[in-house]
């Protein structure tokens, strides 16, 4: 794995696009069984009768699929030390079987850390889309090492 990006390489306003994640019914149900066993994430009929209007992925599953795309396309080429958190997440539209997800990412802000002089926080906003519309938006706060750290 080549480390391409360090803290110094990020500037507010930079944009990146990545990911192609095919969402299957089997995976929606598997995630829900493990972590979010509510009827509208487990069963098509129950989904139709809920305010989601059909079987839909758990929001935590949507975040996790976003993380998978981010890790594969981006974080593993970045001197990332993991995240300190997520400022805000909005689940905007249901994610359904057959959706193909992708991320448009923008650097919102970079912040040096007094407690960690060899690293800083890069605030990224992920806008997650399926093939029709935006389905979620998250503001993520990963710690990224400086060059030579």
């Amino acid at each position: 794995m080549t480390t391409t990006y360090h803290f110094e390489d990020f500037k507010p306003g930079q944009r990146f696009g990545f990911g192609q994640y095919e969402v299957t019914k089997e995976e929606i149900i598997e995630f829900a069984r493990d972590f979010d066993p509510q009827p509208h994430h487990l069963d098509e009929e129950a989904g139709r009768n809920s305010i989601l209007g059909g079987l839909a992925a758990s929001g935590w599953h949507v975040c996790s699929m976003g993380m998978r795309m981010f890790a594969e396309a981006f974080a593993n080429q970045t001197a990332s030390r993991g995240g300190v958190g997520v400022e805000e997440c909005r689940w905007m539209k249901p994610v359904r079987p057959g959706d193909v997800l992708r991320i448009e990412m923008e650097v919102v802000e970079t912040r040096a850390l007094k407690s960690m002089p060899d690293a800083g926080i890069v605030k990224f906003r992920w806008d997650i889309f399926n093939q029709r519309e935006q389905v979620a938006s998250l503001t993520l706060l990963p710690i990224v090492s400086k060059r030579g750290a």
């Binding site: 972590f35 890790a71 993991g82 958190g85």
Partner: protein
């Protein structure tokens, strides 16, 4: 089942505990967060964490699971809802390592009326995971839609 009107600000619940095994940490990491310090014990040892740590998404997904199990344990007295527009201020405060046991909790902190959806209200909650010594590992502000009591409904 509880309507929006039945929920009290300040009510707090212990959701139970979860012990993280190395196998499940790596399994979650391989599926959803394949960074070296979540999936590769050797690489993790050489990282600034000094060993495998759980994905923050894994730590918070366990909150969801314990919350659903808790609601089910209340049977008829659970909330009428289950759909969320998102969350705020999720903090991964300390690394969660194999063998650790965390205790999860939820507290209702705010009730919001929704002009756009008069049949629903929005509940905000403060959610936490702590270790046996009370140290805070994870927290976030959750949001959930709960149905309002229709006119003429019995409790």
């Amino acid at each position: 089942m509880m309507w929006f009107e039945d929920i009290t600000i300040g009510s707090k619940a212990n959701l139970g505990t979860h012990t993280f095994t190395q196998d499940e940490i790596i399994a979650f990491g391989k599926k959803y967060d394949p960074q070296p310090f979540h999936v590769d014990p050797l690489a993790a040892k050489r990282s600034s964490y000094g060993g495998i740590i759980a994905s923050g998404w894994h730590t918070v997904a366990i909150w969801m699971r314990l919350m659903i199990d808790f609601q089910k344990s209340l049977g008829g007295s659970g909330m009428r809802g289950g759909v969320s527009p998102g969350f705020e201020d999720l903090r991964w405060i300390k690394p969660v390592r194999p063998g650790m046991t965390l205790t999860y909790s939820t507290e209702t902190i705010e009730k919001v009326d929704l002009k756009s959806r008069p049949e629903l209200g929005l509940i905000k909650s403060r959610n936490e995971a702590r270790d046996e010594n009370g140290a805070l590992y994870m927290s976030f502000i959750g949001k959930g839609f709960v149905f309002r009591k229709p006119d003429g409904a019995t409790p």
